[in-house]
Amino acid sequence: MQPFTYTRAETTADAVHAVVAGGPGTRFLAGGTTLYDLMKLNVERPSKVVDVTALDGLDEIDTGGAELVFGALARMSDVAAHPLIVAEYPALSESLWRAASQQLRNMATLGGNLLQRTRCAYFRGGEPFACNKRKPGSGCAAQEGINRGHALLGGSDACIAVYPGDFAIALVALDAQIEVLGPNGERTLRVEDLHREPGQTPEIETTLGHGELILRIRVPKSPLGRASTYHKIRDRESYAFALASAAVALDMEGDTVRAARVAIGGLATRPWRARMAEQSLIGKTLTPQIAREAGDLALQGAKPGRDNEFRIELGARTVADALMIARQRA
């Protein structure tokens, strides 16, 4: 691991100032489960680290108002187990407890989770593998390599690394927003606008500028919350990243779909909202066949590589199953 200097920020303004003043080699540190891991692999090599875990008031879970408000330092395990989230927003709870292990969920913060970096083995593995995300211009070893777990949607010839997170998929389905503090003050953006497709600059993963710090996540309260699920298909039953996942939420009138939200994970380079699938469901009676047709629409445009074509059908089935699970909760 490259040596670095460590400071602990006392206020959000100090944290932002320290990262901006420290220059591009300076990083925020929260739970550490991604950054510190990648520092051990020499994939991340910050010269300065600003610890934000001591900041006051950013670990709140406020369900009392018109929105659910989660402080960026709230721990994954605490939000996953919050009684109102479990009962009224199962997609949020499931996307959290079906991620990682309880030890990691006790450490990882919500803000850090949104910014979790890809598990692409060529990215994490370091030299001699080419990776445009790790070393811009070096190429992408995954294109002709072992790409069973790589993205089918949103990729480019420069990068097909999957966005690995689960929670962001559920947040995108539920129209969540984040509050961000940066050197030019606060702003709000949709979670859907946080992550970028790689294009020719896969090293730029989000729309956050240097020194911008996520403060809070806001989820509008909605009747779609209760009839929702985060369905995650993995190589093993627990403690694995998604081969395919779907966050869906339904507003039903009897057997008829009034409104639907569909977002998919594990299949794309960023959280992937499937609006055509949503549109296809409105006014329909939700049957397994209608659900499967929506699943096919969600995967429309998927470009398989050598080893991952099976995940097109897997993804469509995951969406279909998720819709039928959510239907049971309406």
């Binding site: 040596p3 670095f4 602990r8 489960t33 891991d37 300065k48 030890q103």
Partner: protein, 176 residues
């Protein structure tokens, strides 16, 4: 010395340039102050600086659970916890689980009774995770035990015994 007194000790804290950090923490009821490079993990602090070698280094990347300890009563993987983030906090390791008279914790006894190990390398992490699993209320069914113990891998495949041990100890811990 209490944690508060340690916190006020004049020599403590982060060095001005941040290249060394002084970590004050309470491990298994004993207070320590250790100055380390900020790269140091809590696992390495425990093993290399405090000679507490119960927590094991398996993968060193948060994937195997062999290094599981409790930080302020919650289970974490100590390999991905920068030691400096354990400052002013309480750590419990496998060495701190038995009572002061040497009587084993019910979970330790249950692992023996149910033959829940073979080589034993993952066992300290399994037991620390299992104790937390019961305390969290996640040991109320075999399915939930499996789900909430999935962060602790056992290459010997002692899982059947581990689940049985947790069920047994959970009942005893609830009665205690």
């Amino acid at each position: 010395m209490t944690l508060d007194q340690i916190a006020e000790a004049p020599t403590s804290g982060v060095r001005n340039d941040g290249s060394e950090v002084t970590v004050r923490l309470r491990v298994n009821g004993r207070d320590h102050r250790v100055t380390v490079d900020p790269r140091t993990s809590l696992l390495d602090l425990l093993r290399e600086h405090l000679a507490l070698t119960g927590a094991k280094k398996g993968c060193d990347h948060g994937q195997c659970g062999a290094c599981t300890v409790h930080l302020d009563g919650r289970r974490v993987v100590s390999c991905l916890t920068p030691a400096v983030q354990a400052s002013e906090r309480q750590v419990t390791t496998i060495e701190g689980l038995a009572s002061s008279d040497g009587r084993l914790h019910p979970m330790q006894q249950a692992f023996i009774d149910h033959d829940a190990l073979q080589c034993g390398y993952c066992t300290p992490g399994q037991i620390m995770s299992a104790v937390a699993c019961v305390q969290e209320g996640h040991a109320d069914s075999i399915e939930r035990i499996r789900e909430y113990m999935s962060g602790n891998l056992c290459r010997c495949g002692a899982y059947v015994g581990i689940v049985a041990a947790i069920q047994d100890a959970a009942a005893k811990m609830r009665r205690a």
